[in-house]
């Protein structure tokens, strides 16, 4: 144990930090700073910058464009990019990418992997269904083989940014007997397929980033199946086991912490800055301490898994990071709404959009997006395996019951 990072790691962190500062679009960074919504170009422009640098797919094998970073380097990369205001890498790179590399055909790899790295191919995720949320084994979307095509019928829900997507990876049921986990197959669907339609789902924060997707006799070539028929459950578990280095969201949390301090310094109560009042100062300090503890825990778990030679990052302990990371960030957004006081009451949907349509907001600029961000933050303890499920997983691991 020692306090300082190695000079090499510290230099790496400075490299990443400088790179983000130098290359990220100031407009995108401003949106992230102000809590406004990103659009596709914010993501894709950043992905192309990362691609040019060779940093778009750190988790992939080197022969497919990976960086061969240590888990700690990957953690630092994720933290620094988030802290620098960069959009997260999404669109399947960290989900379907590793699955294709492990289980895809040479043709699939050639068709998709380079395009993904260039930022030219955006994936939608097709897992959840209205009747199957946390309980994926009960999914009902069915695919029936008809010659050299699967014919897919059913629906998928809670798909983030499906309107941006070119392709979808989806779990569908191809066999109807046996255990419910068996008989599930992983298919790759072209979003332009006839019979495939999407419908936006407006969320409580006013956003429209979620979609439901409907399949009406959608024909999918058999060559778009990943791996074996009926083995989709295995691939899905493989896929969900990736990318746990940054699961606590330390970079995002630090950015919100800085925002909390900005807002607490800007808001006043009878002439005193809130940040100077013991009541608020104590609450901010408590959150900051929780964040420090969580950061230490993240680093510790990554180093421990690295020491054990587990390259994929923490195992079941990742659930601890997910639980605490989401609940801490939710507490931060809750505090932000409290700090804004009466100017948390008005809400103008326009301020969330790219380019404010409506001139200045009615209150201080920092207050305009907070209510929407707060409401949006309620999702993080639900998506990606609800915290109740994470607690079940952990309990099972601890108790063995």
């Amino acid at each position: 144990m020692k306090f300082a990072f190695s000079p090499e790691l510290e230099a790496f962190r400075q490299d990443v930090r400088r790179f983000v500062a130098d290359t990220l679009s100031p407009a995108t960074r401003a949106k992230v700073d102000e809590g406004r919504r990103l659009v596709k170009s914010d993501y894709v422009d950043w992905y192309r910058i990362l691609h040019a640098k060779g940093w778009i797919t750190p988790g992939w094998p080197v022969e497919h464009g990976g960086t061969d970073w240590s888990p700690l380097e990957r953690y630092i990369f994720e933290e620094e990019t988030a802290l620098g205001g960069a959009p997260p890498v999404t669109g399947g790179i960290n989900m379907i990418g590793p699955v294709l590399i492990a289980f895809g055909t040479p043709e699939q790899k050639a068709a998709y992997l380079p395009a993904m790295r260039r930022g030219d191919l955006w994936w939608a995720q097709g897992f959840s269904e209205p009747g199957a949320g946390s309980d994926l084994a009960s999914l009902a979307t069915r695919a029936v083989l008809d010659g050299d095509h699967y014919v897919v019928n059913g629906t998928k829900i809670w798909q983030t940014q499906a309107a941006y997507a070119d392709m979808m990876f989806a779990l569908v049921r191809t066999r109807f007997e046996g255990k419910p986990q068996e008989g599930i197959t992983l298919l790759l669907l072209d979003m332009n397929s006839p019979g495939l339609s999407i419908q936006p789902i407006r969320t409580i924060d006013g956003g429209q980033e979620l979609y439901q997707c409907f399949f009406d006799n959608v024909r999918v070539p058999v060559e778009n199946r990943v791996g074996a028929d009926g083995k989709g459950w295995t691939y899905a578990k493989y896929l969900l086991g990736f990318e746990r280095h940054g699961i606590a969201g330390i970079g995002h949390a630090k950015r919100q912490m800085a925002r909390i301090k900005r807002v607490a310094a800007a808001e006043h109560d009878r002439g005193t800055r809130l940040i100077d009042l013991p009541r608020w100062r104590d609450r901010i300090a408590l959150l900051e301490i929780e964040l420090m503890a969580l950061e230490c825990l993240s680093l510790r778990l990554i180093q421990e898994s690295e020491a054990k030679g587990a390259g994929a990052g923490p195992g079941v302990e990742a659930s601890i990071l997910k639980i605490r990371g989401t609940e801490l960030r939710q507490d931060m957004f809750e505090l932000l709404t409290e700090l804004t006081g009466p100017y948390g009451i008005p809400f103008d949907e326009e301020v969330m959009r790219d380019g404010w349509g409506n001139g200045a907001p009615v209150g201080p600029a920092h207050a305009a997006t907070i209510a929407s961000n707060y409401l949006d933050s309620r999702k993080i303890s639900i998506y990606g395996g609800a915290n109740e499920i994470q607690r079940n997983v952990l309990a099972k691991a601890i108790l063995g019951v």
């Binding site: 409580i204 808001e267 009466p342 100017y343 948390g344 009451i345 008005p346 209510a371 639900i382």
Partner: protein, 378 residues
């Protein structure tokens, strides 16, 4: 302290519940014009609820206001009931001269006049004495200049109740006056906004607005105590509104747990979710009880007793509201995040009420500064 509704109060609750449910149902089909619905409030006598019979009212108090506000909260209505009926009406009745009362109150009760308070200013947070708006006498007239922040229901109002400083330094409790300012007076500028929970509101700018000196409501320079009592009435009504929203959200969540299935069983079979629901129930019942006490306390003469109960109710409602709102979303899972499902609308209402007329920190401080009353128990 008697928590049981008497017969009239029970009738009022049933009537308000029917009315509010009906209003919500109409709104969801073909939205009716706000003023049409406001007329129906008046027809049922709800607008004169807190006024004397001489002014066309029913002579009710804090409890009656809470009863109606709770049903409005349950149905998430956005009409100016709290500002006009809970705050402005009683304030005019308390401070107004006979001619002002005779002119305004019957019109208010009849639904012909919407009056809303405009007390808080952009830099004031929740302090009613932080008034930078000035009132300058010019012969028989008064010139008012300044800004007011987030005035609830202002776009629907005919008349604004504006606090302005006639003398004294910024933050001084003395030197404040209240003026009745028609919204269509030259120099009154409303910037319409919508609140997070869908209510019309406005930022108000007063550019050398000139009114007659007779537009002053109550004594010169000594408006603060009455403003505080008026806001207390508003807070009591809002806590009732919050209880209605919490109760509806609790019912929605319990029903979801009964019917939504995962892993082959209703999710209400899972003990961790059951216990969370129970904690919501506890939070709801605590809020309901102390909100009712605040509604009773609001008519008590002793300002210290009133302040204690009002502050306690607002703090409890802020905490219960956050907890219930957030827990409800979580228990609904992804469904809770959708706008269509509607759980989020209750959370928004609860968040807004938490920030209206003083947040948790503000009322906690007021409570801590108050002293436990001696005298008889309640």
């Amino acid at each position: 302290m008697d928590f049981i509704l008497n017969e009239e109060q029970t009738l009022l609750r049933d009537m308000a519940a029917r009315f509010a449910a009906d209003a919500r149902a109409r709104q969801e089909k073909t939205p009716e014009a706000p003023d049409r619905r406001w007329s129906r409030f008046a027809e049922l006598g709800l607008l004169g609820l807190t006024l004397s019979e001489a002014h066309g009212g029913l002579g009710g108090g804090g409890v009656e206001t809470m009863i109606v506000a709770e049903e409005m909260g349950r149905q998430l209505l956005t009409d100016p009931f709290v500002p006009t009926v809970a705050v402005a009406g009683p304030l005019i009745a308390a401070l107004g001269e006979a001619t002002q009362q005779a002119q305004l109150l019957p019109a208010l009760a009849a639904g012909d006049l919407v009056v809303v308070p405009a007390f808080l200013e952009p830099e004031a947070r929740y302090d009613l004495a932080q008034v930078a708006t000035t009132a300058r006498a010019e012969g028989e007239r008064v010139v008012i200049s300044g800004r007011k922040a987030v005035v609830l229901n202002a776009p629907e109002a005919d008349l604004l109740l504006v606090s302005a400083r006639a003398s004294g330094a910024h933050g001084d409790p003395e030197g404040l006056c209240l003026y009745l300012v028609p919204t269509r007076t030259p120099g009154v500028v409303l910037r319409a906004i919508t609140t997070l929970d869908g209510r019309p509101a406005a930022e108000l700018t007063l550019n050398a607005v000139t009114v007659e000196a007779t537009a002053r409501l109550g004594p010169a320079g000594a408006a603060l105590p009455a403003m505080e009592q008026a806001v207390d009435r508003g807070v009591a009504a809002l806590t009732g509104e919050a209880v209605g929203a919490m109760a509806a959200l609790f019912d929605l969540t319990a029903e979801y747990l009964r019917t939504r299935k995962q892993f082959g069983a209703p999710i209400g079979k899972f003990q961790a979710l059951q216990h969370k629901l129970v904690d919501m129930k506890v939070a709801l019942e605590l809020a309901r009880s102390v909100a009712a006490a605040a509604a009773m306390a609001v008519d008590v003469a002793d300002a210290e007793v009133r302040r204690r109960f009002i502050a306690a109710a607002k703090v409890q409602v802020a905490r219960s509201g956050r907890f219930i709102g957030q827990a409800a979303i979580q228990l609904h899972g992804a469904m809770g995040m959708t706008d269509e499902y509607g759980a989020g609308r209750y959370l928004k209402r609860l968040v807004v009420i938490g920030a209206l007329h003083g947040d948790l920190a503000h009322h906690l401080e007021r409570f801590a500064a108050s002293t436990e009353p001696a005298g008889p128990r309640h």
